[in-house]
Every structure is written in structure tokens, then in C-alpha cells.
């Protein structure tokens, strides 16, 4: 196990390095002069010169990349071109809503997806199975920004059951947090729930045809025990392998859903920064999210190897 972990950790390092290089290179993909693009059309020569200087654009590429990575390792992501705040501070201020929405979305994906998948496999080829599978395809066809807007108008504006906008910290007020986070978390979880449901279904179908399930049925166990105890555990285990994938999907959803529900999270920060062309902030956010996805994939692999020892060899 230790050897496996060491090997996986080592193989993640070049990927994280690639994430950093990609993040850095984005600035240099600008057509023509990056500083000119950032400054806008009406900028004076001095302004452009100032931006060039503050971003170090007047030095060679490899030189810039080296010092940028060194800064990142020291925890310095530069300053916002717009407000002058430290990017690290902007990100830490906005971290909590995004993290709690993502975690809640992940929980919802699993809590909705696993039972639906089990149901579909149990009643395979019936109308229940077909409708679950149809809803699952719809799950990743629904655009988050539209579903969110629809839920908002129905449950928040028309029915007035839940608040329409804003975010309450889970540390201040747990029921308040849930009321505010329910609609956005549900919105981001639909595609994840769809993926989990499909996976659980196909695994469950495989497991249900195993000999030991026939044995369990033959010795007269009730169907609920057979499906719920004997089949569910091996069938739901592989869901762990897609947590990394789900996380990337959820984070994509969070970016737009935070805009819909006016939640001050990382996604909103990224969207605002993109509209203002605040490059250091954009770089900071995508660097953090890219790294989180790589680490999540790493942890997923390790967790799965721990749960299913066959993977290690």
C-alpha cells in the first residue's frame, strides 16, 4: 500500500506542474501584447508600461515562469489588477461558499444517484428502469444556469419557500445554511446524480447475476436483504472511482450556479474577474481549482486501492 501511495503521489507531481504551466501560459496566449489587452483600448503608454512591469512581461518567458512558480510555492499569487487586493486573500475569502456547495452537491449526487441506480437495476428492463435511465440522461443535459433560474422562480419567488439569493455560513446558522444552499446544491448535483445512478445500475446488474446472490435467494432471504445487504455494497463501491470526475463537474456547475443565486464564492469571483479581464485573479482561481481536482483524483485512487486491494497489483 505504501509503495502504491508513493507511486501515485509521485505521478501527480508532473500533472500539478502542468496545471501550473497551463495557468501561467494563459496570460501569454493573448493576441499581440498581453499588457495592451489587459489595459484596454483607451490605456496610455504609461499604463501599459506599468502593467507590463507589474506582471514581469518584459522578461523572457522561462524566466517569468520560474519566478511565478517560485511565488506560487511561497503562497503569493499576485494582486488583483482591479482592486489591488492580494489574490490569495480574495480566494480564501470566497472559499467557504464554494466548498460547502460542492460538498453538499457531492452528498446529494450520491444520495440521489445510488438509490435510483439500485432501483433501476432491481427492476431492470421495466418501465421504472427506463424512466430512471431517461431522467439520468436528462440530468446531464440540463444546463445548470437554466435549471437554477427555473427552481429559483418556482420555489423562491412564486412559492416563497426558500430564499432566492445569498449565502449563510454553516458555522453561524445550520438551518439557515441548508435553506440557502438547498436549491443551488440540488442544481449542481443533477449531473453528478445522473452519473452515479448509471454507474450503480450497471454495477448492480453485474452483481445481481453473481452466484452468491442466487445462493442468498435460494436460502430464502427476503428480496430487500438480498439487494440491500448482499448486492448493494459491492455495487456501490466503484462509485468511489468517479468522485474525482464528479468534483470537476460540480465545480463547473458551481461557477454558473453561484451567478444564478448570487452566492459570493470562487465561481462568482472567477466570473467577475473574467468580465474585468483581471488576469491574476483568474489565474489564481483556476490554479486552485485545477490543483484541487488533481488532488481529489489522487485521493480517489488511493481510497479505491484501499477498499479494493486488487487495484494495488
Amino acid at each position: 500500500m505504501t509503495a502504491y501511495i508513493a507511486q501515485r503521489v509521485l505521478s501527480s507531481i508532473p500533472v500539478i506542474l502542468m496545471v501550473a504551466i497551463t495557468t501561467f501560459s494563459i496570460l501569454h496566449l493573448a493576441p499581440g501584447d498581453a499588457a495592451g489587452v489587459i489595459a484596454g483600448d483607451q490605456a496610455t503608454a504609461q499604463e501599459i508600461e506599468r502593467i507590463k512591469n507589474s506582471l514581469g512581461l518584459d522578461r523572457p518567458f522561462v524566466d517569468q515562469l520560474g519566478s511565478w512558480i517560485a511565488d506560487v510555492i511561497r503562497g503569493d499569487l499576485g494582486r488583483s489588477l482591479f482592486t489591488g487586493h492580494r489574490v490569495t486573500e480574495l480566494i480564501t475569502d470566497r472559499l467557504e461558499p464554494t466548498v460547502s456547495l460542492t460538498v453538499l452537491g457531492l452528498l446529494l449526487s450520491v444520495c440521489l444517484g445510488v438509490p435510483l441506480g439500485v432501483l433501476a437495476a432491481w427492476k431492470a428492463n421495466s418501465w421504472i428502469d427506463r424512466s430512471v435511465m431517461f431522467f439520468s440522461v436528462s440530468g446531464f443535459s440540463l444546463p445548470g444556469f437554466w435549471l437554477g433560474s427555473m427552481l429559483l422562480i418556482v420555489f423562491a419567488v412564486r412559492l416563497g419557500w426558500l430564499p432566492a439569493i445569498g449565502f449563510v455560513s454553516i458555522f453561524d446558522d445550520v438551518p439557515g445554511f441548508l435553506r440557502n444552499a438547498l436549491l443551488p446544491a440540488f442544481t449542481v448535483s443533477t449531473s453528478g446524480a445522473a452519473i452515479v445512478a448509471r454507474m450503480t445500475r450497471s454495477n448492480m446488474l453485474e452483481v445481481l447475476s453473481e452466484d452468491y446472490i442466487r445462493t442468498a435467494r435460494a436460502k430464502g432471504l427476503r428480496e430487500i436483504t438480498v439487494v440491500g445487504r448482499h448486492a448493494l455494497r459491492p455495487a456501490s463501491l466503484p462509485v468511489v472511482t468517479v468522485v474525482g470526475l464528479l468534483l470537476a463537474g460540480l465545480l463547473t456547475g458551481v461557477v454558473v450556479v453561484e451567478t444564478v443565486f448570487t452566492i459570493p464564492g470562487l465561481g462568482r469571483l472567477a466570473a467577475e474577474a473574467v468580465l474585468r479581464r483581471d488576469i491574476p485573479v483568474i489565474q489564481g482561481v483556476i490554479l486552485v481549482i485545477g490543483t484541487v481536482v488533481v488532488i481529489a483524483n489522487l485521493l480517489t485512487d488511493i481510497a479505491y486501492a484501499y477498499l479494493d486491494p486488487r487495484i494495488r497489483y
Binding site: V15, M18, A30, V137, W146, S149, R201, V255
Partner: protein
Amino acid sequence: MLIVRRVIFAKYGRATGTLTRYVSQNPNLSFGLLILVTVSLAAIFASVIGQVDPLKLDVQHRLEGPSSSHWFGTDHLGRSVYSRTIHGGRLSLVVGASVVAITTVIGGLLGMIAGYDRRMDALLMRVLDGVMAFPGLLLAMALMAIWGASLQNVIIAISVSASPSMARVMRSAVLSLRERPYVEAARAEGASTWRILMVHIAPNTLAPMTIQTTFLLAIAMLTEAGLSFIGVGVPPSVPSWGNMVSTGRMYQEVAPWVVIFPGVVLTLTVLAANLVGDGLRDKLDPRLRGKL
């Protein structure tokens, strides 16, 4: 008539026959194809069936509900939502088709190189893993911030974020094909690498690549809408399903149709692409039936 059918059948053999039968027996696949064909036709003939100019302002008739003159109602500037939805479909399909074409060529080539050449494999895959770590929409947003709003930039930005997944599909197909006896035979005969890749390997990757392109079409259309929704997609004057929802949201309490129609059409189109992808996969690669 019968003779003609017999000739066609003799010429194209069983393949056409089984495929049409398969499509007609699979309700999800036929539903998906029907919607995709309808949306494509509507997009091609947008200026004919679009009732009025999607950019025509008519402030006297702003935020009016669906009626016989404006089937989907009008927006806050009195523009026809129906006409804008049809033209938005044209944009969505143009972006989707272009992204599919670009990623098939670029992702396909990269995947082929990685799958066939062991030395390049490690390097290329690390690079692609690095790009894939970013959620697609976020990477496309960052690129749009640098490049500025335009149709061309939307297509390139989405292609950049979508190419790695195409390359992965191609790579795994090539990895399993390169050890086949007929490829070995071609190599033994002295065929060049290029010839082996293009003549012997590429045609056999058609099945997995076709499946991937339909899913990619769905993802590209969703990403385009997402970019336009945030405000970094095509310029705001161009009707797009994403920016229609985004501006319509401000008026959705009084005029819900402004948001409902583009969203429903977008969802149906993406759903159709996903259904076609699922149906094709069940047909072309039955081992994966019902999986991810």
C-alpha cells in the same frame, strides 16, 4: 420500387439494413435523431421560418406573452423570442459542429501519436492530464477573458478544453489496435508509420470516435451557452440561448417565456445529442451498454 430497394440492399449489404432497423427499434435513439434533425433544419432555414428579424426592436410590444404573431412572446426590447431562439440554435449548432471538427482532428492526431509512439505517450499524456484537470467551462472562460468575445474565439476556447478527452479516447483505441496481427503484418511488409496509422488504424477507431463526438457535441453546446450566460461568449448582440436566459432572468417574474423557451430548446437539443450518443454506443460497443 422493389427492384431499386433490392439494388440498394445488394450494394450496401447488411450494414444499412441493420442500422435502419436498429434505429427504428430504439425509441430513444430515434427520438434523439428526430430532434437533432429538426433543430438542424430550423437552424439552416432560420431566416425563412424565423418570422421576423431576431434583432428587430419593437418597444411598443415589449414583454408580451406568446401570441399568433410572436409564438414565444417578446423580450424586454420587443424582439421576437421565437425568432431569437431559432437563430440561437444556428449559433449553438455552428459552435457544436466546429468544436467537434477541430477536436476530432487535433485530439485525434494527438491521441494517435500518444497511442502509437511509446516515447511520446508519457509526455503527451502528462500535458493532457494537466489541461484536463481544469473544469472545461472554467478553462474556456479564462481563455475568453484573454481573447475577447467573438464567435471564433468561443469555438477555439471550447476546442482547447475539449481536445484532451478526444485524445484519450483515440489513444486507448490505438493502444488496443496496434498489437493486432494485421497491423503487425503491415509493419512487417514495410508500411510506413503514417500509412499504418491512416490506412490500418484510423478506420477502426471510427466507432469509439463517433460515440465521443456526439457526447462532445452536447458538451460543446452546453459550454457555449454557459459562456454566453456569464457574459464572455459571443458578443451580446448575437442571439445565443445562453445570453437570452441571462438577460431574460431580469424579467422572468413578469415574462417567464423569455427564459423558458430558449432553456427548453437547449435542454432538448443537448438531450437529443446524448440520447444519440447512448444509442450509438449500445450498437457499436455493446460491452459498454448502460455504463457511463
